[in-house]
């Protein structure tokens, strides 16, 4: 019988007649060292681990402390032996506990007693007679090993250590380890290596609680073909993403740095978390950091934020006072278009519902052992995180729109004009809840809904049309004899001092003009629809044309071209894009004429384009 006695010089069996020196493991936790770390080290390397690997049966004192019996470190060690994977088959070894207590007494006085009632665990008292009886039973083959790890894992319960007593702190480390365990090996990547190092250094992996959860979760075999995680996020290239997570130093920085590196994006991390900072100090420091990075030349428009960022948040009753929420409100107050992904370990749906009220649209729940326990779920949890980040990046153009609108408003166009119509235009367009705000608010509400986008386009053209109608911008006279045709036209120079004339009515249905419309069909137009102005030719000097040939009626389109190109110097290709959007506006957004192919839709980038044109013309 290859046996091993584990004790703390607190037994009568440590006599060489019974256990040779090589059959003893003196358990002696180093001064000032965590007991789980000590046990993990003993079981995974060094002579004591070799002794266990060479044994067929273990005798362990219930108490392994000299003076402090109730710690029952022998039971804790027994759990570790069952759950430490590196022991291989020896995890099933029969364990004989030695103590004066009964199973019932230990059950009543040890917080995690379930191991006592599993197969392969025996209990004897400090008695040579009982020891000899046990040896005899072993030799008769009556002492059994654990034969079914699944049943064992399902029948035990290991409570989290008190420093991990919140669901939050467990999920933070658990999810990181789980995601990483499913990544393809990528040793050439510097960030991958750093992530592996960081994870192997995590103390949590050495705790009994982690080993227990890991044993439960890995009952489902890992299938590389089915479960491997590709650590890339689509369509976030070139983006800078801000990360605010108090667990950042526990491997989350390396995690994000790795997946962003693989996706050609950058993680900008707040690394100023200090344990002794008060909540108020933390919030103040975070605000300074946020202001800095959202006002860079290439600003950060997407943040990944955890909700509970300070220890006090765990005792906070009012959700709105949680640090993460205060930070979200601060960011949204600076720029409501900035996108936020709340990545939290909270499994409370109402927390996420409340986040909606603060303008958050994207959420990712960090995987936790309670909510996820198989590989497919881990994969889906990771993919969900990636989709949320990708969507937030997609919508981050809203931050830019907000900045542009703010910039446009700051131009104070017509501020010195006394003209009532100009003033009305200013109020209607740039005022609070004016047309520009309406565009932004609609996009914020839902920028993927076609009806919303069409409505934004209508408002944008309403602004353009109103602008072109202003007498301080230009004047378009009608040729009364020729219906709707232009008689003459000029626009004011941008300083308002000079007129620029580019249409002059001439005799016999002729007009001197600086440009002529070109007819054709847009690619998105139905083939059987009428031709429409799709472009315009600009002449070097006034040219005499038939009013019928030039097609220069007093339409909004002609006014827009005239003002944008000849007054505001908008590049020709941009004016042509406006022409295309104008056609869409008139044939889809305003009236469904059927002239546009049904599969053609405008998108948020088109609205952004018009807002950019506004920044040029209203400057």
């Amino acid at each position: 019988m290859k046996k091993l006695l584990i004790h703390n010089n607190n037994t009568s069996f440590n006599k060489t007649d019974i256990f040779k020196i090589s059959e003893q493991f003196v358990f002696d936790v180093d001064f000032d060292k965590d007991v789980d770390l000590y046990i993990h080290e003993q079981l995974t390397r060094g002579p004591n681990s070799e002794k266990i690997l060479a044994s067929d049966i273990l005798f362990i004192k219930v108490s392994l402390s000299k003076n402090n019996y109730l710690e029952y470190l022998g039971l804790r060690l027994a759990y570790h032996i069952r759950l430490t994977k590196s022991l291989g088959e020896k995890v099933n070894i029969p364990i004989v506990l030695i103590g004066e207590e009964s199973f019932q007494f230990l059950g009543l006085t040890y917080p995690d007693p379930s191991i006592l009632f599993t197969k392969g665990i025996y209990l004897i008292s400090e008695s040579i007679e009982e020891f000899q009886k046990m040896v005899k039973l072993y030799e008769e083959g009556k002492i059994k090993s654990l034969d079914d790890m699944n049943t064992f894992v399902n029948s035990i319960l290991v409570n989290p250590p008190s420093n991990y007593n919140s669901h939050h702190s467990i999920a933070n480390e658990w999810s990181l380890v789980r995601y990483n365990s499913m990544f393809e090996k990528d040793e050439k990547n510097e960030y991958y290596d750093r992530l592996q190092k960081k994870i192997s250094d995590l103390d949590y992996l050495k705790t009994l609680h982690f080993k227990y959860l890991d044993a439960k979760a890995t009952r489902q075999n890992f299938n590389p073909k089915k479960h491997t995680i590709k650590p890339t996020i689509k369509e976030i290239e070139g983006k800078k993403i801000g990360i605010i997570d108090d667990e950042i130093s526990k491997g989350w920085f390396e995690f994000y740095a790795y997946i962003f590196d693989k996706s050609n994006a950058n993680a900008i991390v707040y690394d100023g978390f200090k344990k002794d900072d008060t909540k108020e100090e933390l919030i103040a420091n975070l605000k300074i950091w946020i202001l800095e990075i959202i006002n860079l030349n290439e600003p950060v428009d997407v943040f990944i934020i955890d909700l509970r960022l300070h220890d006090d948040d765990f005792a906070e009753q009012n959700f709105e006072n949680i640090t993460g929420i205060q930070i979200i409100r601060f960011i949204k107050n600076q720029n409501p278009g900035i996108q936020i992904v709340v990545s939290s370990a909270s499994n409370k749906v109402w927390n996420y519902q409340q986040c909606l009220d603060f303008g958050v649209k994207y959420f990712s729940i960090k995987e936790s052992p309670e909510t996820f326990n198989n590989r497919s779920q881990t994969l889906s949890s990771f993919n969900h995180l990636c989709v949320q980040i990708s969507n937030a990046v997609r919508d981050s153009y809203l931050a830019n729109i907000y900045r542009k609108i703010k910039e446009i408003k700051s131009f104070n166009i017509f501020i010195n004009n006394s003209n009532e119509k100009d003033k009305q235009f200013v109020n209607q367009t740039f005022g609070k809840n004016g047309l520009l705000d309406q565009i932004f608010n609609l996009l914020l509400l839902n920028n993927s809904n076609q009806a919303v986008l069409d409505q934004c386009l209508l408002i944008a053209f309403q602004i353009l049309e109103n602008y072109c109608e202003l007498s301080s911008i230009g004047n378009f006279e009608k040729n009364k004899a020729a219906g709707n045709s232009l008689a003459s036209c000029y626009v004011w120079s941008r300083d308002g001092k000079n007129k620029k004339i580019f249409f002059i009515n001439q005799q016999k249905q002729k007009i001197s003009t600086l440009f002529q419309l070109k007819l054709g069909r847009f690619p998105f137009q139905q083939q059987d629809s009428n031709e429409t102005p799709i472009d315009f030719n600009v002449f070097e000097a006034m040219k005499l044309e038939s009013i019928y040939k030039s097609g220069l009626d007093i339409t909004a389109l002609v006014k827009i071209i005239a003002v944008l190109y000849f007054r505001d110097n908008v590049p020709k290709k941009d004016v042509e894009k406006i022409m295309a959007l104008r056609y869409y506006r008139s044939n889809v957004a305003a009236h469904l004429t059927g002239n546009v192919k049904p599969d053609f839709k405008i998108n948020a980038k088109d609205i952004m384009f018009i807002v950019k044109v506004f920044t040029q013309i209203f400057k």
Binding site: S12, K15, D32, S63, S65, N68, E126, Y164, D203
Partner: protein, 228 residues
């Protein structure tokens, strides 16, 4: 009886006051070393000057508030002066008490800032006793001592039996006198019973027989059952 609590994260202490209604700052035996006083202590420890700790009978410190060097100085100081030392830390999974060279408890911060701390301080104040088991196990502290003593007795009795069975046992390993039992004075009174009173009637050098050990073990068995 004075206890020094060295704490750099004062918010935690305030949270404790809120949750237990026990204001540590107003507690007579307790001195909180924080803020400027904390900085002064750290500077003193750097130059190996521990005199600031002399007025205290027990030192309790947030483990990570101190550097490795400062921790070693503190441990040496407590070892030399046999002063109980407590390190509390958020990174400890299970508390461990060592009581060989001096009483030294390593405990998780959440377990430290609990009702047990209140009990520990109250006992310090009323009885002038530093009982670290109170911090670790609260009201169950006596149980731990009794179980420990029972194990000592069981080991001793088995050694006697083993000796009778010709297993080599040195006389020095056997319990011959009351003092060999290392009975903690806090539980002594509970152990005095009709069958055991003779053991405690003399001084600690009085002899103890196998039968007396057996009786003592039975008494402990009964006491233990009552406590659970």
């Amino acid at each position: 009886m004075k206890i020094a609590i060295i704490e750099d994260r004062i918010g935690r202490l305030e949270q404790f006051t809120k949750s237990t209604n026990f204001d540590l700052k107003k507690s007579k035996p307790v001195s909180i070393i924080t803020g400027l006083e904390f900085d002064t202590l750290i500077n003193s420890l750097r130059s190996n000057d521990t005199s600031m700790l002399d007025p205290y009978e027990c030192i309790v410190s947030h483990r990570s508030a101190l550097s490795n060097e400062a921790r070693d100085i503190l441990k040496d100081y407590c070892r030399k002066n046999k002063k109980p030392l407590v390190f509390f830390s958020g990174g400890i999974t299970s508390s461990v008490l060592k009581d060989e060279e001096f009483p030294f408890l390593h405990i998780n911060s959440k377990e430290f800032y609990s009702e047990n701390l209140k009990l520990f301080i109250e006992v310090c104040e009323e009885h002038s006793i530093v009982n670290l088991l109170l911090l670790q196990f609260g009201k169950k502290w006596k149980l731990s001592l009794l179980l420990n003593l029972r194990n000592i007795i069981a080991v001793a009795m088995n050694k006697e039996i083993m000796k009778m069975n010709n297993i080599e046992i040195e006389d020095i390993e056997l319990i011959k006198r009351v003092r060999d039992l290392q009975i903690n004075s806090a539980i002594k009174a509970d152990l005095i019973h009709e069958k055991t009173k003779n053991i405690f009637s003399g001084d600690d050098y009085g002899s103890v027989s196998f039968e007396q050990l057996k009786s003592l073990k039975t008494i402990i068995d009964n006491l233990v059952s009552e406590l659970v």
